[in-house]
């Protein structure tokens, strides 16, 4: 293998694996044919073009397996997203925070996008929501009640994530087709109803949800994201990981840098470290969930004729 070919192969990793299995030889042929004689490194513009096209292909080929589908599910998600939105509005009255509303809205729209089969958009919005949340957190806009509820919630998510096969089993249990959709919708609605009735406005805001029943509702929402193979979905999963990392390591937030510079620096360092650890963990767990999901799909798929 020439150095040029080796370098092209590295760049081609921007494409999804399945795509490379099928097209890499052909693409590589074109790249090597186009290269002037004696060239050992890809031209920068060629390299950028490959990475961009590869990324675009990844986005385009994200599978659109969703737990939900159809207006029935959109309605369910709207119900799920409604309480956080409402509670965010209540929060403006109590201790007004633009960040909380932004977070709630973006997570809500993200959830809707997920249901209407727009996984990339959903993931981007989830990432925005999480980033907004972090900004709110670090600048003290999100109050301590919300903080405590959220901490409980993220710990719960992490624990449940540790059982990847559970997700796939849950999905299988509810069945496929219209009946499965109705069952999942029912679970969502019941979970949300329980969560709303049991939660105070502030805790209700945390999609996030202090009661067990409404946690289930959130997990049903989180599941389709895990089942989606693809880079962006993993990024979104990872951002949840970031939230967890920061919360677990720094349950009371960062100290004021002006008062105690050293404590601030060490806190920030621990938060960064915890974030990386949890991030890796979440990506790994999502990968496992997805692999199980794919093998199940393969087993249960009708043999092509």
């Amino acid at each position: 293998m020439t150095p040029l070919e080796r370098r092209y192969r590295i760049l081609l990793r921007a494409y999804p694996n399945a795509y490379r299995d099928e097209r890499q030889a052909e693409l590589l042929g074109v790249l090597l044919d186009s290269a002037p004689k004696g060239q050992t490194r890809p031209a920068p513009r060629e390299a950028i073009d490959l990475v961009c096209s590869g990324t675009r292909t990844r986005l385009r080929t994200l599978p659109t397996v969703t737990v939900a589908g159809g207006w029935c599910d959109v309605a369910a998600i709207a119900i799920l997203g409604g309480p956080p939105l409402l509670a965010a509005l209540l929060l403006i009255h109590s201790n007004g925070s633009a960040a909380t509303i932004a977070v709630a809205i973006s997570l809500f729209i993200g959830a809707v996008c997920l249901v209407v089969r727009r996984p990339p958009a959903a993931s981007v919005l989830h990432v925005c929501g999480a980033v907004g949340f972090l900004i709110g957190l670090l600048s003290g806009w999100i109050d301590s009640h919300a903080f405590a509820g959220l901490t409980l919630f993220v710990i719960g998510v992490t624990l449940l994530h540790l059982i990847p096969s559970m997700w796939v089993r849950c999905y299988r249990l509810t069945g496929t087709g219209r009946r499965g959709t109705s069952i999942r919708t029912g679970i969502l609605v019941a979970g949300v109803a329980a969560g709303v009735s049991g939660a105070s406005p502030i805790l209700g805001f945390l999609m996030v949800i202090p009661t067990a029943a409404s946690q289930i509702a959130f997990f049903m929402l989180r599941m389709p994201l895990s089942l989606k193979l693809g880079f962006i979905a993993r990024m979104a999963a990872a951002t949840f990981g970031v939230m967890i990392g920061v919360l677990v390591v720094l349950p009371s937030g960062l100290p004021n840098p002006a008062e105690n510079g050293l404590a601030f620096a060490s806190g920030a360092g621990r938060a960064a470290l915890g974030t990386i650890m949890v991030l890796l963990l979440m990506v790994w767990i999502d990968g496992r969930i997805q692999r199980r999901w794919v093998s199940w799909r393969r087993q249960s798929a009708p043999t092509p004729t």
């Binding site: 590589l28 042929g29 074109v30």
Partner: protein, 105 residues
């Protein structure tokens, strides 16, 4: 339809071509103005295949290089015909308007 897409379809109109030949032909057709890069070309080829405008007609291995030959499908031909007619009509109008203004040749 964007220009690179139009040129790719044009390149495939006369005969089936493999990827590298498409790049060369598009450069010829556009007098060297449009140089397709491999990534861009394959993104376009994938999209056109998905839309049913082109299709793979044969595959071969030459000097260890894997080659797929792409050809226009009947829907692809009619799409290209429509697009060419549209462009010709636009060009005709543009020239006529320029003549009316006394600016054109």
């Amino acid at each position: 339809m964007q220009e690179p897409t139009f040129l790719i379809l044009t390149a495939l109109a006369a005969e089936p071509l493999h990827g590298y030949a498409v790049i060369g032909k598009v450069a010829d057709l556009s007098d060297g103005r449009v140089t397709l890069r491999a990534g861009t070309l394959y993104t376009a080829l994938d999209r056109l295949t998905a839309e049913g405008l082109i299709d793979v007609v044969r595959e071969e291995v030459v000097d260890g290089r894997h080659r797929r030959y792409y050809a226009l499908t009947p829907p692809g031909s009619s799409r290209l015909t429509e697009e060419a007619a549209r462009l010709r009509s636009n060009a005709t109008h543009a020239l006529r308007q320029l003549r009316l203004g006394g600016l054109g040749a």
